[in-house]
């Protein structure tokens, strides 16, 4: 294929846009989380630093940069330092295969596809890189030379690898409907509409077809478990383990863990949007392949991801933490069988051509 300078420039532009959006998620989510939790808990939240406390994240960032970076004496220095990187790399790279807008034609006929890397096996790369994030937690817990960190690390990584199975199996049902592993194909299958009773048109999003409800529920719950958010946050477990695997981390390394958690949340929300909520599709509207259609589809995508991020915050401050053995039991004995049953159900529906 003919590659020229404009292609490379457009790819770099896509990377810059995606990285800028992802790196800005953390400060925004810090503010949303603290004000949102305050709203749910009937208190005020940070309101000193700027109007409505909007600059709180900047104050937090300044604090993290200026704090003293303490490394415990008996900790394994190398592993202690590279552990945050193991958490950050999956968080930053998995967003590369998620489509965030409608492909449109530039003025010279070139197709601009708003996805950083449109590989054939798109979603498998997300699962592959997400399974690497386990190492960050395990290494951090072990390298801190602190038994509470080790407990937090081992428990959390056991939980993550257990729920990875339910995550993968329930995502497969959305992929079976689309017939392809590429996320762009998954989104294209969800443009258009279902017609009920010859009059009512509902968008063809996967969440509106009854066969996918079970997979949506299982995937959402497993997404909570994968990102270590309540009710599955044994990695942090604020009341039990001091701060779990990042007890001994201070300043910038702690900030990196913090950032990687919010970015993983954003990526999981983007993935749920792509698989079940129709990605960049605007309901009941056929976006044209122009720049205007592209902008509208990006806005639709951002709105859906924002809604899911707010749901993450909402659930965190509403539902209490499960006990660890109940969590593992539910993961293996409830969600994994449900995911398998869901697979059978969706394949039956596809065979009967109801989807």
């Amino acid at each position: 294929m003919a590659f020229d300078g404009l292609d490379i420039a457009l790819s770099l532009l896509k990377i810059v846009i995606v990285l800028a959006a992802l790196l800005n998620v953390t400060p925004i989510m810090v503010w949303v989380e603290r004000r949102g939790s305050a709203l749910i808990q009937d208190r005020v939240g940070p309101n000193r630093v700027g109007p409505f406390g909007l600059f709180q994240a900047i104050a937090d960032a300044a604090k993290f940069l200026l704090k003293e970076d303490v490394i415990p004496r008996e900790a394994n220095k190398w592993l202690y330092t590279i552990a945050p990187m193991f958490g950050l790399i999956p968080a930053l790279t998995t967003i590369a295969v998620i489509p965030w807008g409608r492909p449109f034609r530039l003025s010279d006929g070139r197709l601009f596809e708003p996805i950083v890397a449109d590989v054939n096996v798109g979603i498998l790369l997300i699962f592959a890189l997400a399974s690497l994030s386990v190492y960050g937690i395990v290494t951090a817990g072990w390298a801190s030379n602190n038994k509470y960190s080790l407990f937090g690390g081992i428990r959390s990584s056991a939980q993550m690898i257990s729920y990875e199975l339910a995550l993968t199996l329930s995502a497969i049902s959305a992929l079976m409907v689309a017939g392809s592993l590429r996320l762009t194909d998954v989104v294209w299958k969800q443009t258009g509409s279902f017609v009920l009773f010859d009059t009512i048109r509902i968008p063809a999003w996967n969440i509106f077809s009854p066969a996918m409800w079970l997979s949506c529920i299982v995937f959402s719950v497993a997404a909570f478990a994968e990102t270590n958010r309540l009710p599955f946050d044994f990695a942090e477990a604020d009341a039990e383990l001091v701060a779990g695997y990042h007890t001994e981390y201070s300043a910038m390394k702690f900030a990196l863990f913090f950032m990687s958690e919010y970015m993983a949340m954003a990526t999981m929300s983007a993935l749920v949007t792509t698989l079940f909520l129709g990605g960049w599709d605007i309901p009941w509207y056929n976006e044209p392949a122009t720049f205007l259609g592209f902008i509208l589809s990006v806005i639709a995508f951002v709105v859906k991801v924002t809604f899911l991020l707010l749901t993450f915050v909402w659930v965190r401050w509403t539902i209490p933490r499960l006990k660890y053995d109940i969590l593992m039991r539910v993961g293996w004995k409830v969600f994994l069988p449900l995911a398998v049953v869901n697979l059978l159900l969706v394949s039956w529906f596809i065979a009967e051509r109801w989807i």
Partner: protein
């Protein structure tokens, strides 16, 4: 052009971290070096035009098997044990034997394994592999699933200690008399 750069970089990474696996004292560092080495091999698979297997390699090997290794090392607290150094005779023989083997292999590969690639694309995407698995290789596919079930049961039985042994007296119910010495 960029293919060559990627190949040399990740091949060097794979070899260096493989050497760290076998040479480092601390088993946790060995395990993490093996993870990096397996990840570089996944990049090699992408260069070989099988991205499906590259993703599977990271998911299965680097993401599950090595986590299992790390769990075992950490739970058995193996990094605290000083592993005794192997006797010098064994070390010398081991190094020279594998070095001789390596030299012989590389020499003959460099001399005789010159092959030209055929034209045309190599279709190894998920659809083609899936069709092949369910048509030609259906029987091995089902056997592998039974083998995995056997492995799960075996691993659980081998690593569980303190399983209550079936007690013949207790099977009579709650009113069984207390047998002294049990």
């Amino acid at each position: 052009m960029i293919n060559f750069v990627i190949f040399f970089f990740f091949a060097a990474l794979a070899v260096i971290f493989a050497l760290m696996v076998i040479l480092h004292r601390n088993p946790v560092v060995s395990a993490l070096s093996l993870v990096v080495s397996l990840f570089s091999l996944a990049v090699m698979y992408i260069l070989l035009e099988v991205p499906f297997l590259a993703a599977l390699q990271v998911i299965i090997y680097a993401g599950a098997i090595m986590v299992l290794f790390l769990f075992v090392i950490m739970l058995l607290n193996l990094q605290r044990r000083r592993e005794e150094t192997t006797r010098p005779v064994q070390q010398f023989l081991g190094f020279t034997a594998s070095a001789a083997f390596a030299v012989a292999l590389i020499y003959y590969l460099a001399k005789y394994a010159v092959m030209t690639l055929p034209n045309g694309p190599f279709l190894a995407d998920a659809r083609t592999i899936g069709i092949r698995l369910f048509e030609t290789y259906f029987f091995p596919f089902e056997m592998v699933s039974i083998l995995l079930l056997a492995a799960i049961v075996g691993a659980l039985l081998l690593s569980a200690r303190g399983l209550p042994s079936p007690d013949p007296e207790r099977s009579e119910g709650a009113n069984a008399p207390e047998v002294p010495g049990r």
